[in-house]
Amino acid sequence: MSTDVVAARGYLADLLAGQAQPPASAASPTLAWLKALRADATERVGVLRMPTPHDEAWRFTDISALTRKAFHPLRTPTSLQAGDIERFHIDEATMRLVFVDGVHAPHLSSGGVDGVTDGEAIVVGNLATATATHGSTLQAHLGRHAAFHDQPFVALNTAFLHDAAVVIVPRDTGVATPVHLLFIATQPELAAYPRALLVAEPGSAVTLIEDYVALHEGAYFTNSVVELVLGASATVEHVRVQRESGQAFHIASCVVSLAHASRYHSVSVALGARISRVELEVRQAAAAAECSLDGLALIGERQLADTHTLIDHAKPHGVSRQLHKTIVDGAAHAVFSGKVMVRTGAQRTDSAQSSRNLLLSAKALVDTLPQLEIFADDVKCTHGATVGQLDSDEVFYLRSRGLSEAAAKKLLTYAFGAEVIDRIPVASLRRRLEQTVLERTTTRQP
């Protein structure tokens, strides 16, 4: 074993060091099953090592910059007032769960929060509040979908699993307004382990916004895990916005389980972080499920944004659509690895995947790996990838209407990103992110 590996294993152990003292504010219920889960995860963290580019799944993603920095768990919670986070509010979202440096902040959360009222109401709360009424649901799902046996970062997050954002939508309940999960980073050198669970019971419908923001520009480490469980015929819209500080490290895992005829749509936008990695796994565990995954990474300078997705068609008549786009400027590096797996028996699967990448500078880099693995014989699957600069015919079209070359290129760059942003089903968030994309694509030097 090389010294590198030993050093890297030591890094995980260092991160784990604060694990024995859960923050008092977590108000973690003492649940035997949860203790056992944490113990298993802690044990795996001890066995696993930090991934390196020698690992196939991390071939293009060098996270050694992370291991060169030390991060500690929360020691002194930051006291935030409502006014401090007002700018992150999303108008449509009347239900909001706020976690500050990974710790639940009930006084910043609102509307239906902790509102574990009766059996028919939507649950939007943390682990402690939800356990009171939905203990068996939590035990059945929390930590049961995001496997950590060979996933060091999922194991690490699970080892720290003292609290979580919990959303449970009862059977046949349509939630009219989105639920906003807001994870705020306030301190440098901190490691935070956000965790969320959404259970959409059969026939229910909900929109979930998972939002990572920062109040400072320093370096910190966010290691999040989200599990989404859709019952039969449930519909979930999932918007993921990663707008961490430019120095942050963000390593996240999201596992989605789809029951019969359920429908899942996600829009994932990566704007911040020095290094970010999102692993999104969607399992079509029953027939006739549909999923649609849209992604945009808009990065520059020396940022690295990695998106790994797996769409697992295990049963017949599944549908999947995926559009992943990157806009890469400066010396930034975007990675996309998207696997579509069609298992034996997943007949009549209908899948289309597209990876489109726009390079804005000579030093910008994209690695894209769309992959199809098909073990059924009656399927319709397409995939494709493009990497390049702006289309010269499009630039000419705009110039022929009087726009300068620079203005034409900026508009087209904006449009490239806006195509994904436009798919966000929450109007105010869509407008805000359109504005962000506009600013990012128009302030750069042509």
């Binding site: 289309d391 010269s392 015919d393 499009e394 630039v395 000419f396 079209y397 705009l398 110039r399 022929s400 209407r401 009087g402 726009l403 300068s404 070359e405 203005a407 034409a408 508009l411 087209l412 904006y414 449009a415 490239f416 990103g417 806006a418 195509e419 942003i421 436009d422």
Partner: protein, 268 residues
């Protein structure tokens, strides 16, 4: 309309142009005066669309010899946007789809850019909305097209109407319509042609690049030119289009060859 003593708008002399290293235009001469409508016809591959793109300044096409004067200025030295601002407009044969850019936003941006260049007032979104809706009536376009992305999901006919809408907004001095009739059904052809006719005046000029005579029933040209092998080989009045419709292009090619033969004989 052909006007006595009308000033020359465009003068093309001995123009040669290449795309991807292949020479397409081989010594083209062409003159347009204000108020005139010209039709350029010719078989596929004769260089009609290339000529249209060279006039608009497409960066993939290189003019290698000859000169083009527009209002007395050297057009070939002007960037595409400078040409647009100076009043040249190309209606594209295949208008580009731009997902993510609202049609209304795009039209206003183009309009205001050109207005600013001409020293006229720019319009805010509300003022522009009134103007564009007025122009859309001319083309029998639903205001719904303002809310969509530029040309995205438009039918062939809708894209062509959107091109002429841009022409109506930008009020060009020289409009070049590249195969604007292709892909149009008879109703759309009538609407688009009405739109173009409405925009012609004694001060501007229109060049129609077309494969078929059909369009010329609706927009009546003052001159019909036939292109062949990268040059204009025959020029006539509107009746030439009817003759071409009836007899095809072969006789023109034969005529052109015959005309070239003695000259080539001398030079070799």
């Amino acid at each position: 309309m052909i006007l006595q003593h009308s000033p020359t708008l465009l003068e093309v002399r001995g123009l040669h142009a290449t795309v991807g290293g292949t020479e397409i235009l081989k010594g083209l001469d062409f003159t347009v005066r204000r108020g005139e409508v010209h039709a350029i016809m010719g078989p596929n591959g004769s260089g009609k669309s290339t000529f249209a793109k060279v006039l608009a300044g497409h960066t993939s096409y290189q003019a290698t010899a000859g000169e083009v004067l527009y209002e007395g200025r050297n057009l070939l030295e002007m960037a595409p946007e400078a040409r647009a601002r100076a009043g040249i407009f190309l209606a594209f044969q295949y208008p580009i789809e731009i997902p993510g850019v609202g049609n209304s936003q795009f039209l206003r941006l183009a309009y205001n850019t050109v207005q600013a260049e001409r020293g006229k007032d720019e319009l805010d979104p509300l003022e522009f909305d009134d103007l564009v809706r007025e122009k859309m009536k001319l083309l029998e376009m639903s205001p719904e097209f303002l809310g969509r992305s530029v040309n995205e999901g438009f039918s062939g006919g809708e894209k062509k109407r959107n091109e002429i809408l841009q022409m109506a907004l930008l009020e060009p001095t020289l409009a070049i319509l590249d195969e604007t009739d292709s892909g149009l059904d008879i109703d759309a052809l009538r609407v688009v042609s009405n739109g173009v006719n409405h925009l012609t005046s004694k001060d501007n000029a229109v060049v129609l690049v077309t494969h078929y005579q059909r369009l010329l029933n609706y927009i009546v040209p003052d001159y019909v030119h036939v292109m062949e092998g990268g040059r204009i080989v025959k020029t006539g009045g509107k009746e030439l289009a009817l003759e071409l419709e009836e007899r095809g292009y072969d006789w023109i090619e034969a005529e052109a060859k015959a005309a070239r033969a003695p000259a080539e004989g001398v030079s070799t």
